[in-house]
Symmetry: C2
Subunit: 191 residues, 2 copies
Amino acid sequence: MTMKVYLAGPEVFLSNAKEVLAHKSELARAAGFTPLAPGDLEIPRTDSKYERGIAISAIDEQLMLASDLIIANLTPFRGISADVGTSFELGFMCALGRQVYGYTNVAASYLERTSRDYYKGMINSDASGKLTGSDGLSIEDFDMADNLMLEGGIISRGGVFVRKAVPDGRVLTDLAGFKECLILAAEKYLR
Amino acid sequence: MTMKVYLAGPEVFLSNAKEVLAHKSELARAAGFTPLAPGDLEIPRTDSKYERGIAISAIDEQLMLASDLIIANLTPFRGISADVGTSFELGFMCALGRQVYGYTNVAASYLERTSRDYYKGMINSDASGKLTGSDGLSIEDFDMADNLMLEGGIISRGGVFVRKAVPDGRVLTDLAGFKECLILAAEKYLR
């Protein structure tokens, strides 16, 4: 009985997505899991781009339904937060009661990134310590890597959210966090 | 037998979040639904910010489990994509097989926004028409409002993703799309 792991993350957008996902799959197999990744199933022919998008979504949902575990790459993507597709998938697997792990290749907290990268330091603190950006929007301050639903979903199910810095230029490709998730999940479920 | 609707969206970060959520709740009730919104339950006292974040996540999951329907505000938040917390919640409700509706107050497609707002027009197209940004990352081109998992999750369950432009300055607060979701869901489930 092998355990299937769904490999979620924005690497699907890399120019060498296939190679990266093949590498992640290989690492997952080496750790004792059966990997399932977006792109593993053939996409049916469709009449429009829109229908193609819907078809890919259906396939990814199918792969998740077939998986016992998700390892989600929650590294910030095109902005200060995780990829929204990956966030959707993490929520999906949480609701199914599957095992959930996540990692990010950026060590700074959501508060630090939002303050520095999005508001360029222009944030305010009121008398009670509540933080807001220059646009008046409040900023989550929970010592978390991203929105609390992501970390809460993982932690409350006994999973782990690995957060570590990686060398410059490797933010979207480094696999140290991924490997750590594999090791932790294998120790817990495969021995 | 009333149908409960979970009100998901980044309005929790507005300075007048309570008022806005009270207004959305009132509109939901007027449409015949029982609204459930983040903030409806009391957050237990915790010893750290981190535990407080986990506690809020647990409450929001509880509210979703109690809901028959979600209306997710998927308007871009602090960047080019929807709020990741809301995206998580949409995925969560999709996996539970609940009814799912979404809206965005920005009419431009993900491709348009990413090209214009994130890459400032610096995108490339290869011979096959595949689009990439100046950093080499591919750009989803499915005539969708955001990542395909969001729209696919909604459409494949018979929901609707309302996409409409709103007046300047009302992007995070306008409720026309929300009202449209309420009307469509009420027509389908309450008559």
